[in-house]
Symmetry: C2
Subunit: 220 residues, 2 copies
DNA sequence: ATAACTTTGTACTAGACGGTTAATAATTAA
DNA sequence: TTAATTATTAACCGTCTAGTACAAAGTTAT
């Protein structure tokens, strides 16, 4: 479970460590420059090992990129697993989940950037990865539980689709990170100050809660 | 105003046409492969003219990319200008604006992809473009008007920030297009069917409307 | 002991890439 | 008429890039 980068000096050879080191460095590079923008030579120079070892472990540049993607998704999953929502009332649980997602994305810009890059590539690599599909089904199951509990308690509206709800939460959380550069370049706003981000998060939670709580005919 | 691509055979030389043709082709290529992924040779091969002329008009690859970005933003603005919202009640106007934005983004995936790419590059090119900043201030002015009218009519809550509202509308509309590949690769859902997209749009409108209409203490 | 696995490091290649040159000339605005 | 602008074409250049070759050897599991 521990993913620390420790040289483990007792062991002279450290395959896992080397692999991990390469993965760390290349994830940063891919996130920074994109798939075609990242340079294998540069990645190699930043690792503790050599270019030769990159090809030894990952075959080629695409293989390395794929490995980075998978590692990133797994890491995110590990984070989400720590959330304990079962003990909370459904509306509180949902509020916590939205807030958590918003914060989590904000704290992991490299992951967001990898997903952006993958989208630019039309998800070509993700499509062929079984590992990653599993990761996300957990998130949906989580949401399904909350929705059911909320509906049983008469708190939530009837027609709620967990995948759609996940989409809505993701949209507000993802966009915040992915489009920060263009958005803050275009509007010299306070949205990306500490205060602004807190407001944005609170309002994201509010939007989702209002949406799931809204019963037909109440408004509009 | 007319941006059609007409050879204009009466005129033997057609600078505007050549420029436009290069712009069209390269926008598609940049949207498809990214800034470093797109190939100048390939772009040249797809134009009616030669590589030499690309450098003649745009200096270098980055200059060409910058020109594509500016053209894309201008084109989007032209579309938004056609909307006439002043005659509508503020809530109807906002609903129409959200629906329009959602549809507009969906119909212009190449524009979205260019913005994604620009975000990957931390908005480096956008920052140095005065043209583009102007385009977006119009959108904010539009929203400011709607908000004020809505508040005066007692329909909208008091604390509304036009830039934040624009952010929220953009998030739901942009994410729908930008993350379609990964999202539909991960969840084999109906969200991207014709029906699903209609639902998603309707719910986006609903979310925004609920949010702006929500008065403190009413819920939550 | 043996075989499989892991590591190092440099030098190299074959091709792709962005960008230029050169020579040339037709068209157009003044 | 003159001068600036707009065009054509293909070869070419230097650099960068992903990936390999090669040669050698230490480490570990069985």
């Amino acid at each position: 479970m521990e993913l620390e980068e420790r040289p483990n000096k007792a062991v002279k050879r450290d395959p896992k460590g080397v692999r991990l080191n390469i993965l760390r460095v290349s994830s940063k590079e891919f996130a920074e420059y994109g798939l075609s923008g990242a340079r294998v030579n540069e990645i190699a120079a930043l690792t503790k090992t050599s270019k030769r070892m990159i090809y030894y472990y990952f075959g080629d540049k695409n293989g390395l990129y794929r490995a980075c993607l998978e590692a990133a998704y797994s890491h995110v999953r590990a984070g989400e697993e720590k959330l304990d929502l079962a003990g909370l009332a459904p509306d509180k649980a949902l509020a916590k989940l939205v807030g958590f997602t918003f914060d989590h994305h904000r704290k992991n810009p490299d992951f967001i950037r990898l997903v952006m890059i993958e989208n630019i590539h039309k998800a070509a690599y993700l499509k062929s990865s079984d590992i990653i599909r599993k990761v996300n089904s957990a998130a949906i199951k989580n949401l399904t539980g909350i929705i059911t509990r909320g509906q049983d308690a008469g708190l939530f509206r009837d027609e709620l689709d967990p995948v759609e709800l996940h989409w809505q939460i993701s949209a507000l959380s993802f966009f915040n990170v992915s489009n920060k550069p263009t958005f803050s370049a275009l509007f010299n706003s306070e949205l990306y100050s500490k205060e602004g981000q807190r407001t944005l998060r609170d309002h994201a939670v509010e939007m989702i809660l209002l949406y799931v709580s809204h019963k037909k005919g109440t408004l509009l």
